[in-house]
């Protein structure tokens, strides 16, 4: 494979031809907010719209998870236009997200906290109207709890379950604002094809899927 060189935020980096920019940056310690990509998924869903960066010579920001690196490419991950889009996308996500860090098992390891910090915005941003969906929590699995109210619909769990493991216990249902990750026909996890391997929980960036033995700070005390 041919090696190429590119510049990200002024840092010279070498990469393999054909790689996607997001993974090259992350692999070199340069953080770009991202939720929906997985490195072994060759067809990035490009759904979360957080990984915008600016590429020299391109008028509009591009998503790093879909951008193939080329030799001599010059990238700015902190350009104004890109950050504006990433911030709006994140604030939109958070406007329909239940935020309750103190009672969440992912507190401290949550990628949403990391992104908020990186973009320098509050998790509970009040820029937009709060529009929440009140969906039932599924506690039926013996291994994990699924709270759709905390789900950002990144789809990592769906892809891992279906493509990496070939199980296909979960998928997306409904359209638009009603879109939700669910089991077939919305049955409880305990009654579904789920084999309780917990891989979905491991890739979940936030508190939507958490292991049952992961106690929150408050619960432990």
């Amino acid at each position: 494979m041919k090696t190429i060189s590119l510049t990200i935020d002024g840092k010279r980096i070498s990469a393999n031809e054909g790689e996607k920019l997001l993974w090259v940056a992350l692999g070199n310690g340069i953080y770009i907010p991202n939720l929906c990509g997985l490195q072994d998924n060759s067809q990035p869903p490009a759904a979360c719209r957080l990984c915008f960066v600016e590429v020299e010579g391109k008028e509009k920001p591009v998503t790093a998870c879909t951008e193939t690196v080329t030799d001599g490419m010059v990238i700015d991950t902190r350009g104004g236009k890109a950050l504006r889009l990433a911030r709006t996308a994140f604030e939109l996500l958070m406007s329909s997200q239940q935020v309750d860090c103190a009672h969440c098992a992912k507190n401290g390891s949550c990628e949403l906290q990391q992104i908020a910090h990186h973009l320098n915005i509050k998790l509970k941003s009040n820029r937009f109207r709060r529009i929440l969906r009140e969906l039932p929590i599924d506690d039926s699995s013996s291994v994990f709890t699924y709270d759709p109210n905390k789900c950002v619909l990144c789809g990592r769990c769906v892809w891992v379950c279906r493509e990496r493991l070939g199980i296909g216990a979960i998928g997306f249902a409904y359209r638009g604002f009603q879109r939700v990750v669910t089991t077939f026909a919305g049955e409880a996890f305990a009654d579904s094809k789920c084999q309780e391997c917990g891989e979905c929980v491991r890739v979940c960036p936030c508190g939507a899927l958490v292991f049952k033995n992961d106690k929150t700070e408050e619960e432990q005390t």
Binding site: C48, R49, L85, A89, L92, S95, F128, Y174, R175, G176
Partner: protein, 635 residues
């Protein structure tokens, strides 16, 4: 192809054509009157099937076996049902707004007798000395029929009619030309896709032709999910072979083996006509293995889609054809390189394919001579809303909006004032009076913030609130969003909430800025074309009608008196005719009472603002009016 093969193709087709022409000729040469009834969906909605039955019954009663032919849509949807009678010694005459009683009279008095019943005539199809012809209509000056030429003039279920009118000769001609030359011809014609974005068709065909991968596919996009648009339906129903011919030529050019026509299941008549057309084309070996004896094989299948708006997006359409949920995917790779089942796939709109045969037949120059500098050929519009002549219009690109709305469409009904035209459906924009002289072409429209879209044109008058119009379209796109990407799922939702607030009197002054910021971000950040264009109605109304937004927010006033929460109904005491009780009787919530002077008064607390009292008040009094803001009501 080899010379021997080519001459075999030509003679095989000549035989088909001779037979078709003979059938068409005998129809008219028999000396019998020929009666045509427009039974496309628009005609049926107006009662064309009842008219058809009345005509057949009457002929039967009179023991006459005159041919009665079902044809498609002529474009004069405002005057449906339409009947065309061709009788020796008379020009073919088209009658409008026919009902079964009129139909029976037409048979008795004109088909059998000699009275052409001038009182029901809409127009003659040819110039003559007896009745005014369509070409004398003021709109004729602006119309130019290319792909609508056959519509309403032939039976779409008869391949012979299509062939007799010159159909499939372009295919034969194309088979004589190397693919590269066809691509050159398309490029020179300047044809751009009619599915919305206006991508140059020749370039797309070239990319697909050069792409490697077998088998290649050709897909015709007949999803047509825009509310108010029905151009593709009309072509599919009224002239399906024109699309099929274009697709076969495309298949030959790009080297495809299979084609799909994607039609929404809500178009049952289009589905039926396409299916019949495919069967007939296959029977004549215009489709299938070794077409007309050549070494080129190509077949087309019909696919019925769920009709979701987003399924019209090409990557979502592919997913839907593959049996997956119709959700868009990231591009590139573009379908022309990697599409259906990962193979090169040529995508065009119904109308785009319908133009192809004209370009091959008449030459690129002929097509390019229609239109303006940057956009070639004609544009087909579905005129709807507050316009006298609703229906289809085909005009050269570059015709102005004013000409289409006021000359072709005969302007606004009821003496009302034109306010705006929403062009391009939910992805398009609202253009004001000052834009009326813009030429209709891809670039002028997008410069003005709208887009050609698929060709819906909704005319709005003084009674239409522009904030409500923006809200209506956003509600549509928001509900049609697949929900995959953040901007489209949540950005349009936030925008809709803001618009709901404004139209319901809860708007805040910073909402206008928030709306335009969000609109910009949703456009720049969305994954597919749905999100990238959904804010257009909001942005254009903000640009051209900002004062209406401000009136809602700052004064709680809806200038068009449309937004229910911002208006009140009021009875002007001086105008109220005391002895009349019309309004009292219609009020469903008993909000209208009679005071001591016998004047009617609306109890604003009880009133649900349904507006029936306003309609009920006799026009000679016109005592009921709308006021905005509601505080305008004198206490």
């Amino acid at each position: 192809m080899k010379v021997a093969e080519l001459s075999a193709i030509t003679s095989a087709f000549q035989e088909i054509k001779n037979r078709a022409e003979l059938r068409w000729q005998t129809l008219y040469d028999s000396g019998k009157p020929v009666i045509m009834v427009g039974t496309a969906t628009c005609g049926r909605a107006a009662g064309a099937l009842e008219v058809l039955k009345a005509i057949r019954d009457e002929l039967k009663r009179q023991n006459l076996d005159f041919p009665v032919i079902e044809v498609g849509c002529l474009g004069h949807c405002y005057a449906e049902p339409l009947v065309i009678i061709s009788k020796p010694e008379y020009p073919p005459i088209c009658y409008g707004r026919v009902n079964p009683v009129i139909a029976e009279r037409l048979v008795k008095e004109f088909v059998i007798g000699d009275n052409p019943c001038l009182e029901f005539v809409l127009g003659a199809l040819e110039e003559n000395d007896l009745v005014p012809s369509f070409s004398d209509f003021p709109r004729a000056k602006y119309e130019k029929k290319v792909i609508l030429k056959n519509c309403g003039q032939i039976d779409p279920k008869e391949i012979d009619h299509y062939i007799a009118k010159g159909g499939y000769s372009s295919l034969v001609k194309a088979l004589h030309i190397p693919p590269e030359q066809i691509i050159e011809e398309l490029k020179r014609s300047g044809l751009r896709g009619r599915g919305g974005a206006g991508f140059p068709t020749g370039r797309k065909w070239e990319v697909c032709c050069r792409a490697v991968g077998e088998p290649k596919y050709v897909i015709c996009n007949g999803d047509e999910g825009d509310p108010g648009a029905f151009m593709d339906r009309v072509v599919l129903e009224s002239d399906p072979h024109s699309i099929i011919e274009g697709m076969i030529i495309a298949g030959y050019t790009v080297g495809a083996r299979y084609g799909y026509i994607y039609v929404r299941a809500e178009y049952p008549l289009a589905v039926e006509h396409v299916q019949i057309a495919l069967r007939q084309a296959r029977r004549l070996n215009l489709l299938g293995k070794n077409i007309l004896g050549s070494d080129f094989s190509f077949d087309i299948r019909l696919f019925q889609g769920s009709g979701a708006f987003v399924c019209g997006e090409e990557t979502a359409l592919i997913a839907s054809l593959e049996g997956k949920p119709g959700i868009p995917y990231y591009r590139p790779p573009y379908p022309a390189v990697k599409g259906l089942y990962g193979k090169p796939t040529l995508f065009n709109n119904v109308k785009t394919f319908a133009y192809v045969r004209h370009i091959i037949n008449d030459g690129a120059e002929c097509f390019a001579s229609i239109g303006d500098e940057r956009s070639k050929g004609t544009a087909v519009f579905a005129l709807a809303g507050k316009v006298v002549n609703t229906g289809l219009a085909e005009v050269p690109m570059g015709t102005t909006l004013r000409q289409v709305i006021f000359d072709v469409g005969s302007g606004i009904p009821g003496g009302k004032h034109f306010k705006a035209v929403q062009i391009g459906g939910p992805s398009g924009g609202c253009l004001p009076e000052s834009a009326l002289d813009l030429p209709i072409d891809f670039d002028s429209l997008s410069d003005a913030g709208a887009m050609m879209g698929s060709g819906g044109m909704v005319v709005l008058d003084e009674d239409d609130c522009m904030v409500e119009i923006a809200r209506y379209f956003l509600e549509f796109t928001q509900s049609e969003s697949c929900g995959k990407c953040t901007f489209c799922r949540l950005g349009t939702k936030q925008m809709l909430e803001i618009l709901n607030d404004i139209t319901q009197g809860r708007g805040r002054i910073d909402d206008i800025d928030m709306l335009s910021q969000l609109a910009e971000d949703v456009i720049a950040g969305s994954l597919c074309g749905l999100g990238k264009t959904a804010p257009n109605p909001v942005l254009t109304t903000l640009r051209y009608f900002r004062d209406e937004y401000e009136a809602h927010i700052k004064e709680g006033r809806c200038p068009a008196l449309m937004c229910r929460d911002l208006i009140a109904y009021y009875i002007i005491p001086e105008k109220c005719e005391r002895s009349c009780d019309a309004c009292v009787g219609t009020c469903t919530v008993e909000a209208i009472t009679t005071n001591k002077k016998r004047i009617k008064v609306i109890d604003q607390e009880k009133c649900v603002k349904c507006g029936t009292c306003l309609d009920a008040c006799p026009p000679q009094y016109n005592a009921v009016i709308k006021l905005s803001p509601p505080s305008e009501v004198p206490s």
